[in-house]
Amino acid sequence: MSLAARAVRRLSRLAPLFVVLLVLVAAACARDYPQTTLAPKGDLARIEDDIFFTTVKWAVLVFVLVEGALVYAIFRFRGKPGDAEPEQIHGNTMVEIIWTVIPALILAMIAVPTVKAIFKENETPKGPNVLTVEVIGHQWWWEFRYPEYNLTTANELHVPVGRTVSLKMGAYDVIHSFWLPEFAGKRDVFPNRETRLWFTAEEPGEYSGQCAEFCGIQHGRMAFRVEAQEPAAFQTWVDHMKTLAAQPAAAAVAAPSTDSVHTSTAGATVQQPAGDLAAQGQKLFLTKGCVGCHSLVAYNAPQGLLGPNLANVGARTYIAAGTLKNTDENLAHWIRNPQEVKHGVLMPVLGVTEDEAKALVAFLRTHQ
């Protein structure tokens, strides 16, 4: 009786702790976690989620039993002043064997599905219906290439629902890690070796991911988005992107000097900028040096550029790899002072005036 009463009294003292736990659980139940691993929307993420919850089930069981035994012992064996010396037990072979074997059995219950899942996860998807996408990590943005369509884009990956996407990944500079929680988990990307990851999107929608391996000063600002589309919508997007093409001699790799601007075709696209402001922006894009690092063509795009491909930059949700919403003011701010927005980024401050920035924004907006 007194023991129970004491236990209740002690437990009630822990009440604040329970409140904290409650808040935590509530926090965990809320639905607005767009980058969560706990609501998989793709096959690979489901495999990972299944294994995780297998371990969680066993962990909760072990937690309750072992912490329970600990807490019970703490209350049950409280010493009182004047207690005689307790029995001096040095061990018990039988008990010790049992508590060695039982954890081993539990681990086997986790190990078997783990090994199965390891082999599944390491399979490379094959077949005509597989869409191969090349992923290249850069400091601090993502390049995506579709060899099948000869398309290049950056930071926003479009994929068709229901078609397995096989990622062939590498890095331009240092190690990064491609993490797309709702579809695939993560895989590191290296400058000198290819790594693979795959997933199949189940529902259309926007999904977010980001770099998970520390890669330098702006590791925190290296996000990307995946837009999963119905196959027809995806095909429309592909067809549209193909129109963002270079004219024959795509020589964007070499930064043009001023006198070669008019002969260079690097920045020219099939779309003609609408209006004077945009035309002025186009000129600035060539003369201010933007073209040294950025290409405006998606189809047959030049490779090995330092900056992200801008062929459809006007249509993207974010700029600077998830740093800012793609509004006109943000884009202008970014163009004028990238070092303030994302300190350490490789894009230099080019001395663009406010009016010039407006023109450049107008020009880039025509690239949708």
Binding site: L24, L38, L70, E87, V174, H219, G220
Partner: protein, 625 residues
């Protein structure tokens, strides 16, 4: 260690225990004083690492926060990790090794007292060197794991990585020298009758830790030298452009890095294995199983390094091997936890502060262990690695484990080291604040990680749902800071006006409680003889009650190693060598020449100095300088 009687003059010999002043600390070779130096220094570094963590928490308290720059944030998390591991937890463990191993095995000092002083000075100078980088605005910024090829000259041109690289090499010298010392001490200097299987569990776990240090540190040393060559002399071990492979760094680093985890936790295992029996009034349950499980953990610790690399895509065979090997570690770890619960089971528990921290250790370590099993499974780890879930996991192991264990040990042995009792009320307040603050800081990290927050990001955008959890963590971190303030207040108040500690305040079982608090310089006036595992309990049982307070003896004729400042000179030399390497591109070989000369000068004088105090009047020449 010879204990032949040379001294004739009781006053001179007795004077050993009364030496004070800065010079006596600089030249000390007494393992207890060196232990205190280790403890005080490491605690200051620990507070510094804690301060770095508080700034990190403040920066992450809200989305898109601009409290610190991205560059400074990266320096903070790099230095937080590096400091806590190499300048906090490891040297705090070294404090206990130093102070307690000789006392627990009934020895007069460690095997190589001057080498011991050397280890401390190298550690101190290495720590100062590493932190001096802040003064140049060039604190290390590539993470405590320093992954290649981000650390290459091309991507990290500044001195930041050099400070880290040289600092760790300096600290490695300290760790290796200390490991050799304690290894030899435990093997050779045990009191008569103290067989290996009679050693206190703390000594056993310390012994295993030294083996880990001796085997793991050479690997990181090799990796650091390769990186140093890459950065200084243009080699390409880790530079892909030159045919090197950055993943080689990861293998080398984690072959060191995983055993390092056990280097950080095994001493805490040992500490609570001493505390739990004493405050349960019952011997440790399953002594032999505890020894073998510790050894087994250490052995397996060298075969699991690649579980830090599941996301690199090693292929199914390697994933399977490292996954199963990692899961195996849960078995001996479980055995330890069950044996600790078995120890308190049926006991008569005394809830003194050290006991609270030891019980807190078990409760928290279980959580860390269970989340560890979760990412031992590579498919699950593909989501968890490099997220806050992992940050939560290893803080449950290293804070909930190591720090709770070390704090338990600090409260337990404080009376022995200082001669003063700490205040129990403040101690309990410290415990509850720390328990609550700790869980509030680190438990939400599990969720924020699973919900998609990666590690080592200086900020996060709005709208990903990270705000509330991060705010809770920040509040928790502030509570943790308060808990350590309470500890400091406790230390300050009891040092000024606390109760004097008797020799055996807790009814201890091990030899250190048989001598005065604090012990006299020579530890044991008479060589103790050991007849069982809990020698002091047996002595008390035989006597049928507590032992009388041990008398302060004169120390007449007791022969001790002489103070020396050559270890400090040699340590300065070691530090200068690495500073010289760092400055090689700037000042040429002169830094190196000075460093090597200083080391040579120090070691030369060390070699030819008499190693024992010569008593004036006997030899007519004093070796003190």
């Amino acid at each position: 260690m010879a204990t032949t009687v040379l001294g004739q003059d009781a006053h001179v010999a007795a004077g050993h225990g009364e030496k004070t002043g800065l010079w006596s600390w600089i030249t000390t070779v007494d393992h207890k004083r060196i232990g205190i130096l280790y403890g005080a220094t490491a605690f200051l570094f620990f507070l510094l690492g804690g301060l770095e963590a508080e700034v990190i928490r403040l920066q992450l308290a809200k989305p898109d926060n601009k409290l610190v720059t991205p560059e400074f944030y990266n320096q903070l998390f790099t230095m937080h990790g590096t400091t806590m591991i190499f300048l906090g937890v490891m040297p705090l463990s070294a404090m206990f090794f130093n102070y307690l191993i000789p006392l627990m095995i009934g020895a007069r000092d460690v095997a190589f007292p001057r080498l011991n002083a050397f280890s401390y000075w190298v550690f101190l100078l290495g720590g100062l060197f590493l932190n001096s980088s802040f003064l140049f605005g060039a604190a290390p910024n590539a993470g405590w794991f320093g992954y290649a090829n981000l650390t290459s000259k091309q991507f990290s041109p500044g001195l930041n990585v050099d400070f880290w690289l040289m600092g760790l090499q300096i600290l490695g010298v300290a760790s290796l020298a200390a490991a050799v010392n304690f290894f030899v001490t435990i093997i050779n200097l045990r009191a008569p009758g103290m067989k290996l299987m009679r050693m206190p569990m703390f000594v056993w776990m310390s012994f295993i830790t030294q083996v880990l240090l001796l085997l793991a540190f050479p690997v990181i040393t090799v990796a650091l030298i390769m990186l140093m060559f890459d950065r200084l002399f243009g080699t390409h071990f880790f530079v892909p452009a030159g045919g090197g492979d950055p993943i080689l760094w990861q293998h080398l680093f984690w072959i060191f890095g995983h055993p390092e985890v056990y280097i950080l936790i095994l001493p805490a295992f040992g500490i609570i294995s001493e505390v739990l029996p004493v405050f349960s009034r019952k011997p440790l349950f399953g002594y032999a199983a505890m020894v073998f499980s510790g050894a087994f953990i250490a052995f397996l610790g060298f075969g699991v390094w690649s579980h830090h690399m599941f996301s690199t895509g090693m292929g199914p065979i390697a994933d399977t091997f490292f996954s199963l090997a990692t899961m195996l570690i849960a078995i001996p770890t479980g055995v330890k936890i069950f044996n600790w619960i078995g120890t308190i089971w049926g006991g008569s528990l005394q809830f003194k502060t050290p006991m609270l921290f030891a019980l807190g250790f078990i409760a928290m370590f279980i959580i860390g262990g269970l989340s560890g099993v979760m990412h031992a499974s590579p498919p699950a780890d593909l989501q968890q690695t490099d997220t806050y879930f992992v940050v939560a996991h290893f803080h449950y192991v290293l804070f909930g484990g190591s720090i709770f264990g070390l704090t338990s040990g600090a409260y337990y042995w404080w009376p022995k080291m200082s001669g003063k009792m700490l205040d129990e009320k403040l101690g309990k307040l410290h415990f509850w604040l720390m328990l609550i603050g700790f869980n509030l800081t680190f438990f939400p990290m599990h969720f924020v990680g699973l919900h998609g927050m990666p590690r080592r990001v200086y900020t996060y955008p709005k709208g990903l749902g990270f705000e509330l959890l991060n705010q809770m963590e920040t509040v928790g971190a502030l509570i943790l800071a308060v808990s350590f303030l309470v500890f400091l207040v406790n230390i300050y108040r009891t040092m000024k006006s606390g109760a004097k500690a008797p020799a055996d305040p807790w009814n201890g079982a091990t030899l250190e409680w048989s001598i005065p608090s604090p012990p006299q310089e020579w530890n044991f006036a008479e060589q103790p003889v050991v007849h069982g595992r809990d020698p002091l309990w047996e002595a008390k049982r035989e006597r049928g009650g507590p032992l009388p307070e041990p008398p302060l003896v004169s120390g007449k004729g007791i022969h001790l190693p002489a103070p020396s400042f050559w270890p400090l000179v040699a340590a300065v030399g070691v530090t200068l060598i690495f500073v010289g390497f760092m400055l090689l591109p700037k000042v040429g070989p002169w830094g190196l020449v000075i460093g090597i000369s200083t080391l040579f000068f120090g070691v030369y004088n060390w070699l030819f100095e008499p190693s024992y105090t010569s008593i004036p009047g006997v030899k007519g020449k004093s070796s003190s300088h």
